[in-house]
C-alpha cells in the first residue's frame, strides 16, 4: 500500500544543510495501523509529510498504491490526496472562515463527490458533533476541532489516514476520545493508519511501531 525506497530529506538550516531523515526503506501493507514514535525533532512528521506528498524527498521514491508519487506534479498530488489520503494535524488546521460542516464538505466538493451535504452531516454525527455543525472553529473546543478535522480526513473515504500527533494539543480525555475514534475507523473501514506520536500509551494500540531518533529508524516492532 505504502512503500518508501531509500527516502531521505535534507533541509537548509541557515547556511548549513541539516538531514532530518536519513535514507529509509519501509513498507506498510494495506489495512495496517502503524505508530511512528520518537522524541521531538526525530523526523516523524517529516516522514508523514513525505508519505502524503506534502513534501518532496531529497532522494528516493515514495509509492502509494503502486504509484510513484515523487514523480507527480503538484496538482496530481493534490488529486491523489483528495482521493486516497486523509490527514489529521496536531494543530487541527481547520479553515477559520468556514463552519464545521463546511470544513468537512470541502474535500468532497473538490473531488466532485455526489451529495456532500448528507455525507458531511453523517461524518459529523459519527464523530459526535451532531449539534455543532454550524459553528465556526473559533466557537469549538480543541477536542471538538480535532474531531471536525478527523471527519474532514474521512470525507472521501480514503484508504489511508495519516495523523500527526492528533492528541498532542488535547487534554487526556479528549485525547482518548480521538484515539477511540481512530481505532473504530481502523476496525470498521479497514483504513491504513499511520499515527505519529511521542506518547507510548497511544502507540501501544497500533499493529506495528516504528521508532525514530535523529532521523534514523532505531527500532521496528511488528
Amino acid at each position: 500500500m505504502i512503500e518508501l525506497r531509500e527516502v531521505s530529506k535534507t533541509v537548509m538550516s541557515g547556511s548549513e544543510p541539516l538531514t532530518i531523515l536519513h535514507p529509509l526503506t519501509l513498507e506498510i501493507p494495506r489495512g495496517q495501523f502503524v505508530a511512528v514514535v520518537g522524541p521531538s525533532g526525530s523526523g516523524k512528521s517529516t516522514l508523514l509529510g513525505l508519505i502524503a506528498g506534502l513534501d518532496e524527498p531529497t532522494s528516493g521514491d515514495v509509492l502509494v498504491g503502486g504509484v510513484t508519487i515523487t514523480r507527480l506534479s503538484e496538482d496530481a498530488l493534490a488529486k491523489l490526496r483528495g482521493e486516497k489520503i486523509g490527514f489529521v494535524f496536531q494543530f487541527f488546521h481547520l479553515i477559520p472562515s468556514l463552519t464545521a460542516y463546511e470544513n468537512v464538505s470541502v474535500p468532497m466538493e473538490i473531488a466532485g463527490a455526489p451529495d456532500p451535504r448528507s455525507r458531511a452531516q453523517a461524518l459529523l454525527d459519527e464523530v459526535g458533533l451532531t449539534g455543532r455543525a454550524h459553528h465556526y472553529p473559533s466557537q469549538l473546543s480543541g477536542g471538538e476541532q480535532q474531531r471536525v478535522a478527523l471527519a474532514r480526513a474521512l470525507a472521501n473515504d480514503p484508504p489511508i489516514l495519516l495523523a500527526d500527533e492528533p492528541t498532542g494539543n488535547l487534554d487526556s480525555s479528549n485525547g482518548r476520545h480521538i484515539l477511540e475514534l481512530l481505532q473504530n475507523i481502523h476496525r470498521a473501514r479497514g483504513t491504513t493508519i499511520v499515527l505519529v506520536t511521542h506518547d507510548a500509551d497511544l502507540a501501544a494500540v497500533a499493529d506495528a511501531r516504528l521508532v525514530l531518533r535523529d532521523g534514523r529508524v532505531v527500532e521496528r516492532i511488528a
Partner: protein, 846 residues
C-alpha cells in the same frame, strides 16, 4: 466548479467586511465615470438635438464685414438653386449700452443682436414675463434685454436705453434665446433689437467688428451641397458657411472629447482603487496562507484555488461597481435641484439620469480593474506549499515567468482600458505612462522618506521608535497609503497653488499703472476729440495712447523657405497665418518688444516693411528678407520682412501685435484706433467715465479689464472648485484605502498591542504609538504631495501659462499639516478597538 462557486461564496461571506473599503474606493471611481458620462451624454442630447436652433437655421452664412455685392449675388443664386424656403438676416456686435436718462451715468458692454422678422427660423425666444415673442416687440426702436442689463444700468421694462446714436425702449426681458452658447465667454449680456433700426445706431461704420449673418432654411438634401458650393465660391471672401450638421459634428466632437477626458478622472480613481486591491490581495493571501495550504492538503488544485479568489474579487468588484452606479444615480438625480427651478440655461432642459452605456462602461471598468490588479498577487497561491502545515518554513515572494508574463498582459490590458476610455491610444499610453511614472516616483519618494526617518527608530521615545518601525513592518501598507493619500494631496495642493499663482499674476497685471481699460472702434475723425476727452483730467482717466489698427489677411508669401500663392495656399500650408490679423504701424519698439533678427526702423519710408513676431515667424518659417502679401480691406500690399521681434505677451496691454508695419505706406489707409488707458479708480467713477465717453462717441466700445478680470476670476474659481472636488475624491479614496489598510493589518496590531500590554505598556502608550505612526505616515504623504505640487506648478507655470513660478508657502504648509492630521485621525480612529482588546484573550487565540 461547484467547489469554486461555493468556496468563493463562503470566502466572500467571511472577508467582505475587511475588503469593503477597497471596493468602496472602486465604487467612488465608478461613480465618477458613470456620473460624468451620463451628465455629458444628457446635455449632449439636448444641445445636439438643438443644432438647428444653435445656428437658427439649416445653414448659416456669416461675414465680419459688409457683404460684397459680388458675394451677395453668388449667395442669392446658390440659395435659389438649392430651393431655400426661408432666410433671415441678423447682425451681432459687442457695443456699449447706457440709460437714455442722462441722470444715470453708467454704461455697460453688451452683445447686440439685430434681427429681422423671420428670426429665429428654428428654436424660440422666451421672455421672463411668459409673453410670446413676436418681432413686433422690437420694431420701431424696441429692445429686449437680459436681466443683467436692468440691474447694472438701473433701468426697468418701459425705460429707454441708448445704443450708439439711437434710443430704444425696453419691451421685455429675455429668459432664453436660440444660439446662445452654453458656458460661452461673452463680452456682455444680450440686447435684441430690430434689424431695421441698426443704421440709426451708426454702429456699422468703418472698422466695425459687427458680424453679419444670413440664416437660411433649405431642404435637408441640399444642405451639404449648398455649404460645399458656397465655401468653394466664397473662398477668397471673408465669409464662412456652416450647416447645422457641421455644428452638430463639432458639438459632437467637443462633447466626445469632454466626455472621454473627464471620465479619465474617474478611471484614475478606479486605478487607485485597483492598486489598493492589488496591495490588499497580497496581504490577504499572506493571511490566508494556512487555509490555502489546508485546501491543497485536502486535494484542491492551484487553478481551483486561484479561481475561488478571482471569483471573490469579481463578486466584490461587481458589488463595488453597482454601488458606484447607485451613487452616480443619486448624484445625477440631484443636479436639477442644484441648478434651481428657475434656471433658464440649456443645462436645465436636459433629462438627468444614468445612461445605460455609461453604467455598463462603469461596471465593466470596475470589475476589470479589480480583477487585473488582483491576478498577479493571486498567482503567489501557486508557491504556497501544503508542507507548511507540518513545518513553519520561510516563504519569500517569488517571481517566475508566469507572473512576469501575466504582469505584461495586465499592463497591456490597462493601457487598452485607458485608451478605450479616452478613445485614443496615444492618450491611453500617455495616461498610463504618466500614472506609472507618478506611482514610481511616489513609491521611491515613500521609500526614501521612510529611509530618512529610519534613524528615528533609535529615538528615546518608545512610542515614536515603534511607530517608525511599524512603517516598515512585514505586510505593511505604507506604500499604498502613501500613493493614494499622496496623490490626493498632490492634486489639491497643486491646483490650489496654481490658482494662487494665477490670481497673483492677474492682480500684478491690474496693479501698478498698467492700463485697465481699452477703447475700440475710435474712428479717424474722432481721434483728436477722443484724445482731448481722455486728456481732460475732470474725467478721471490716466495715461492713454491711441494706436492705429487695421484688419488684414495674409494672401501670399514669397520667401526663402516657401512660396505661397494665394489665401487658400496660406490656409493649407501655413495654418498659423490663415486667420485674420489686427495690424498697426509705428516708428518705435514697445518696452515689451526686442528685436532678435534684422533691424527695426526709426523713421517712415515709402517702401512697405514689416516686423514679424518671433513665435509666428518660427511656426510659419518666415525670415528677414521674405516678402508677405497682405490683403488689407481689399487692398494688396507686399512688405518685406526687415525684422523679427520677441514680444512679451504678458505685458502686451500697451500693444501686442504680430505684424507691425513701418510708417509711411499705411498712414492714409482706412483705419480705426484703439486706446489702452488707465481708467478712474473707483467703480462709480469708472461707470460715469464710460457713460460720458459713450455719450460723446456712441460708436466707441469700452472694455473694462476689471470686469473681464472678475469674469476670469469667476471661471477660475469654478475650475478650481471642480478640480478640488476631483482631488477631494482622490483624497477620499486615499482615506478609504487607509481605513482598509488599518482593517487589513489589525490582527497583527491587536496581537502586538497584547504583547506590549503584557510587557507593561498602558493604553496611552499604545495610543501614542498609533498617533505617531499615522502622524508620520500622513506627514510623509503630505510632503510627497506637496513636493509633487511644486514640480507640477513649476512645469505648468513655465511651459503652459508662461507666468513666473511661485511657491505659495501657505498652501503647501496647510496641505502637509492637514494631510498629517487627516491621516492621524483616520488611522487612530480606525484602530480604536486595538486599544480596547484584552491581552489574555488575544494571546490565547494566537
Amino acid at each position: 466548479m461547484m467547489f469554486v462557486l461555493r468556496m468563493a461564496g463562503r470566502e466572500t461571506r467571511a472577508s467582505w467586511r475587511r475588503l469593503l473599503f477597497f471596493f468602496v474606493c472602486i465604487a467612488v471611481g465608478v461613480a465618477a465615470i458613470v456620473a460624468l458620462r451620463s451628465v455629458i451624454q444628457s446635455v449632449r442630447a439636448v444641445i445636439g438635438g438643438e443644432a438647428r436652433s444653435l445656428i437658427a437655421g439649416d445653414v448659416l452664412i456669416a461675414s465680419n464685414r459688409d457683404w460684397p455685392e459680388s458675394a451677395r449675388a453668388v449667395i442669392d443664386r446658390r440659395l435659389a438653386e438649392a430651393g431655400a424656403t426661408a432666410r433671415t438676416e441678423t447682425v451681432e456686435t459687442p457695443t456699449m449700452v447706457r440709460p437714455a436718462d442722462p441722470a444715470k451715468r453708467v454704461a455697460k458692454m453688451a452683445e447686440l443682436r439685430a434681427v429681422q422678422g423671420g428670426f429665429p427660423l428654428y428654436g424660440a425666444i422666451t421672455l421672463q414675463s411668459g409673453q410670446a415673442y413676436s418681432h413686433a416687440l422690437v420694431e420701431n426702436h424696441g429692445a429686449l434685454v437680459r436681466p443683467e442689463v436692468l440691474t447694472v444700468l438701473g433701468v426697468n421694462v418701459g425705460d429707454q436705453i441708448a445704443i450708439g446714436q439711437a434710443a430704444f425702449t425696453i419691451r421685455g426681458v429675455i429668459a432664453a434665446e436660440p444660439g446662445r452658447r452654453v458656458g460661452g465667454f461673452g463680452l456682455g449680456p444680450r440686447v435684441l433689437i430690430d434689424f431695421a433700426d441698426v443704421p440709426s445706431t451708426g454702429l456699422l461704420g468703418f472698422g466695425s467688428r459687427a458680424d453679419r449673418r444670413l440664416h437660411v432654411q433649405v431642404p435637408d438634401e441640399h444642405v451639404d451641397s449648398l455649404v460645399t458650393t458656397l465655401r468653394r465660391e466664397l473662398r477668397d471672401e471673408f465669409i464662412t458657411t456652416r450647416s447645422y450638421r457641421s455644428t452638430e459634428d463639432q458639438i459632437g466632437r467637443d462633447f466626445d472629447r469632454a466626455e472621454n477626458y473627464l471620465s479619465l478622472v474617474g478611471l484614475v480613481i478606479v486605478i487607485l482603487g485597483g492598486i489598493a486591491v492589488s496591495s490588499v490581495t497580497r496581504v490577504f493571501i499572506l493571511q490566508k496562507i494556512r487555509s490555502i495550504a489546508v485546501l491543497k492538503c485536502v486535494g484542491a488544485r492551484n487553478a481551483q484555488i486561484i479561481a475561488v479568489y478571482v471569483l471573490q474579487v469579481v463578486a466584490l468588484g461587481l458589488a463595488g461597481s453597482l454601488l458606484g452606479v447607485a451613487i452616480a444615480r443619486a448624484a445625477v438625480a440631484a443636479i436639477p435641484f442644484a441648478l434651481g427651478p428657475s434656471s433658464t440655461s440649456l443645462l436645465a432642459q436636459a433629462r438627468y439620469g444614468i445612461t445605460l452605456s455609461a453604467a455598463a462602461q462603469g461596471i465593466a471598468i470596475g470589475v476589470l480593474i479589480s480583477v487585473l490588479f488582483a491576478v498577479v498577487p493571486l498567482l503567489q497561491v501557486r508557491f504556497i506549499k501544503p508542507s507548511l502545515l507540518l513545518r513553519d518554513e520561510g516563504r519569500g515572494r517569488r517571481r517566475d515567468w508566469l507572473s512576469i508574463a501575466t504582469g505584461v498582459v495586465v499592463a497591456a490590458a490597462l493601457v487598452a482600458i485607458t485608451a478605450w476610455q479616452a478613445s485614443s491610444l496615444r492618450i491611453g499610453l500617455v495616461v498610463c505612462a504618466g500614472f506609472c511614472g507618478l506611482a514610481v516616483v511616489l513609491h521611491l519618494a515613500g521609500r526614501g522618506l521612510v529611509a530618512v526617518l529610519a534613524p528615528l527608530a533609535q529615538a528615546r521615545s518608545f512610542p515614536l521608535r515603534h511607530a517608525v518601525l511599524h512603517l516598515s513592518r512585514p505586510g505593511n501598507q505604507t506604500r499604498v497609503v502613501l500613493l493614494a493619500v499622496g496623490l490626493g494631496a498632490f492634486f489639491i495642493v497643486g491646483i490650489r497653488s496654481l490658482q494662487a499663482s494665477l490670481l497673483d499674476e492677474f492682480s500684478v497685471q491690474t496693479s501698478a499703472d498698467s492700463p485697465d481699460m481699452f477703447l475700440l472702434d475710435v474712428q479717424r475723425g474722432q481721434r483728436d476729440a477722443v484724445a482731448a476727452f481722455l486728456s481732460d483730467s475732470s474725467h478721471g482717466s490716466g495715461e492713454f495712447r491711441l494706436i492705429p489698427v487695421m484688419r488684414a489677411r495674409v494672401a501670399g508669401v514669397s520667401g526663402r523657405e516657401a512660396t505661397l500663392n494665394d489665401v487658400e495656399d496660406v490656409r493649407q500650408r501655413r495654418p498659423s497665418l490663415g486667420r485674420e490679423f489686427t495690424i498697426t504701424y509705428r516708428d518705435h519698439l514697445e518696452s515689451n518688444e526686442r528685436v532678435v533678427d534684422g533691424a527695426f526702423w526709426s523713421s517712415p519710408a515709402t517702401e512697405p516693411e514689416v516686423s514679424v513676431e518671433s513665435g509666428i515667424a518660427a511656426r510659419a518659417h518666415l525670415h528677414v528678407g521674405d516678402t508677405i502679401r497682405f490683403d488689407i480691406l481689399g487692398r494688396s500690399i507686399s512688405p518685406r520682412i526687415t525684422s523679427i521681434r520677441d514680444v512679451e505677451w504678458r505685458e502686451s496691454r500697451n500693444g501686442g501685435f504680430v505684424f507691425v508695419f513701418r510708417p509711411g505706406p499705411l498712414d492714409q489707409a482706412p483705419q480705426t484706433f484703439v486706446a489702452p488707458l488707465r481708467g478712474p479708480r473707483d467703480p462709480a467713477s469708472r461707470g460715469r467715465f464710460q457713460h460720458d465717453l459713450v455719450e460723446r462717441f456712441p460708436n466707441v466700445s469700452v472694455i473694462d479689464f476689471h470686469e473681464v478680470l472678475e469674469t476670469i476670476r469667476d471661471v477660475m474659481r469654478k475650475v478650481t472648485l471642480a478640480i478640488t472636488v476631483v482631488g477631494g475624491l482622490v483624497l477620499f479614496s486615499g482615506a478609504l484605502i487607509l481605513i482598509g489598510a488599518v482593517a487589513m493589518t489589525k490582527f497583527q496590531r491587536v496581537y502586538e498591542a497584547a504583547v506590549f500590554k503584557t510587557l507593561g505598556a498602558n493604553t496611552r502608550t499604545i495610543g501614542r504609538m498609533l498617533l505617531f505612526e499615522y502622524g508620520v505616515l500622513g506627514t510623509v504623504a503630505g510632503v510627497i504631495g506637496s513636493a509633487g505640487a511644486v514640480v507640477l506648478t513649476w512645469g505648468v507655470s513655465k511651459y503652459a501659462l508662461e507666468i513666473p513660478w511661485k511657491i505659495p508657502a501657505g498652501e503647501h504648509l496647510a496641505g502637509v499639516v492637514l494631510t498629517a492630521v487627516l491621516v492621524a485621525v483616520i488611522g487612530v480612529a480606525a484602530s480604536l478597538d486595538v486599544l480596547r482588546h484584552k491581552p489574555l484573550a488575544t494571546l490565547r487565540a494566537e
